[in-house]
Amino acid sequence: MAAITPDEVRHVARLARLALGDEEVQRFAEQLDDILRAAARLQELNTEGVDPTFYPLPLHNVMRPDEVRPSLPREQVLHNAPDQENHMFKVPRIIEET
């Protein structure tokens, strides 16, 4: 298996929305490489025809009656927000001006 390169680490970090410093990129490249090499042992096993176990117990969809129920008060929902305005969560502009 090819070694994990710093560029791959930067690519994965972008996917994960995680800003990393150069030192972290280097360290993660080495550590992820070690861990994934150890994990490559799984390829020894023949799993043809074996179903994956995504959950240990059988799952079924749970539906509740479509009834209106009280929700948390808006002040409580916004209580933990780092920034808010007019009873809404505030984020940087995401629509560009033309």
Partner: protein, 511 residues
């Protein structure tokens, strides 16, 4: 009761009896624990948040209820004393792992990203303990987002093992285990994704139960790996573990993975003894890497169980060796997805950026610690295009093989008996720089989570340097009563040697 300090090491059952008899009040009990926290926690650092006022209010309410029950009994309206399972937690002080949401009480999950988070709701398990009249003393330390085996990954500093302050308490529920071992709580709740209740229980000399997946609600448990996480109790005795389990277990409509089935009378089952039970010993759990002291302590306990009438049968777990790589692909994959919600918009830390992507990325850079970042990266990699089938899907298929190993083993054995950890508690800092070595700590526990089974860690001896050793009992799904029954027999047969005055020195003498 003249010496309240003695009560700091009593069981729930003993304390409940004293409360019902009026020998002590819930307020006295809460105050004694709050004093013990003040006295020993500067050395141990089990607690992240102590809620003294809330605890004393809950204790006062418990005292009112106790008085009402006693009055009803004396006027003949109550014909018999309340059943322990229903009311035995009334007035009992406990500690809550900071991974469980508590309405109005800061819940950090051991992370800077949630340092100031105050949930507007409580986890179902917390609601159930509140409803049972238990007294929550505070929130206890943990590895950040429950990722770790030593409680060294908390953003708020390490927790120390009460038996040796230079050693780790295990993780990720290290604060939960240390608090119970040091007399800072009568019981606690932890969460177990790959061994995080059982390992710290073993390292700190307490009982730790990881229930069958789906028996305890995950509503309000801050998610790490949703198909593996399960809340469980840490206690001083096996009977106490049964009591707390009965109080928190049961179907919860707020959790779609909650099993819609009733909880059996677990406490009634624990005293049935082991006569006629088949204990499976799998050589895969006793191979290279296991400390000789642990091997001897576990096998010695098994010999005692044989003398009590249990039968030892050989079992095999041919895929056990693969559990570690399976776990370290699946758990980080689920974590990378669960932790996507920490973006600095609705709650938690925010680091501003010039646009929203920069804001997300910088918030997560500043809010998460190294282990969490490592697992997010590993999980994102394993789930990304081109690697999904080779890593994530392959791991889920091998998980099926591990599950089948257990099914096969339980055809001939009623339970499996194994060590909890290959080593005694290691020194702080010893494995921090080497993630693969740290991950090996959970080698005997994590297959239980992959298969969704119940497992309990029960003290079975001490190493030559007086460090606790745990024994693990694993059973088929929904066999909590049976695994606790075996654990109770271990506790009873090795108990005299374990409890002959041995307590962590720091818990008795303070700093």
């Amino acid at each position: 009761m003249s010496d309240l300090r003695e009560l700091l090491f009593a069981s729930i059952e003993e304390l409940s009896a004293l409360l019902w008899q009026g020998e002590i009040t819930a307020r006295e009990l809460a105050e004694a624990h709050l004093r013990q926290i003040e006295r020993v926690d500067p050395a141990i650092h089990a607690y992240l948040t102590v809620v003294a006022d809330r605890a004393l209010e809950q204790a006062a309410e418990a005292d009112r209820k106790l008085a009402d029950h006693r009055k009803a009994a004396s006027t003949g309206r109550a014909s018999s004393p309340p059943q322990p399972a229903e009311l035995s937690l009334l007035g009992i002080p406990w500690a809550c792992k900071d991974v469980l949401c508590t309405r109005g009480v800061r819940t950090t999950c051991g992370s800077r990203i949630l340092e100031h988070f105050v949930p507007p709701y409580s986890a179902t398990v917390v609601e159930r303990l509140d409803g049972a009249g238990a007294v929550m003393l505070g929130k206890v330390n943990m590895d950040e987002f429950a990722m770790g085996s030593s409680t060294e990954n908390s953003a708020f500093g390490v927790t120390r093992n009460p038996w040796d302050l230079e050693r780790v308490p295990g993780g990720s529920s290290g604060g939960s285990a240390a608090a119970v071992a040091a007399g800072e709580a009568v019981f606690s709740l932890g969460s177990d994704t790959g061994g995080s209740v059982r390992l710290p229980a073993a390292y700190c000399g307490t009982v730790g139960l990881k229930p069958t997946y789906g028996t305890v609600s995950r509503y309000g448990l801050i998610a790490f790996a949703s198909s593996l996480d399960q809340v469980g109790p840490l206690t001083r005795t096996v009977r106490d573990a049964a009591l707390v389990f009965q109080a928190i277990a049961g179907h919860d409509p707020l959790d779609s993975t909650s099993a819609p089935r009733p909880v059996g009378p677990v406490l009634e089952e624990v005293e049935k003894g082991v006569r006629g039970l088949k204990l499976g010993l799998a050589p895969e759990y006793f191979g290279e890497g296991l400390s000789p002291a642990i091997r001897e302590a576990v096998l010695s306990a098994v010999r005692r169980l044989e003398r009590e009438g249990a039968e030892v049968v050989e079992a095999h777990m041919p895929h056990l060796d693969y559990a570690l790589p399976v776990y370290y692909l699946i758990a980080p994959s689920e974590a990378s997805s669960n932790l996507a919600r920490y973006d600095g918009v609705r709650y938690g830390l925010r680091t501003p950026g010039e646009d929203i992507i920069a804001q997300f990325s910088r918030t997560r850079r500043d809010g998460f610690g190294p282990e969490v970042k490592r697992r997010i990266m590993l999980g994102t990699y394993a789930l990304s295009a081109g690697y999904y089938e080779a890593f994530y899907l392959k791991a889920q298929k091998v998980r099926t093989l591990i599950r089948r190993d257990f099914e096969e083993a339980f055809r001939s054995a009623d339970v499996l008996v194994t060590p909890v950890s290959p080593t005694v508690p290691f020194r702080l800092g010893e494995k921090v720089e080497d993630p693969l070595q740290m991950y090996l700590t959970d080698i005997y526990t994590l297959s239980v989570n992959l298969a969704g089974l119940p497992g309990v860690s029960v003290p079975c001896g001490f190493s030559p340097e007086t460090l606790p050793i745990g024994l693990q009992v694993i059973g088929p799904a929904f066999s909590e009563g049976r695994v606790l029954r075996v654990a109770r027999a271990v506790e009873r047969t090795v108990g005299a040697e374990l409890t002959s005055g041995r307590r962590p020195a720091v818990a008795v003498n303070g700093r």
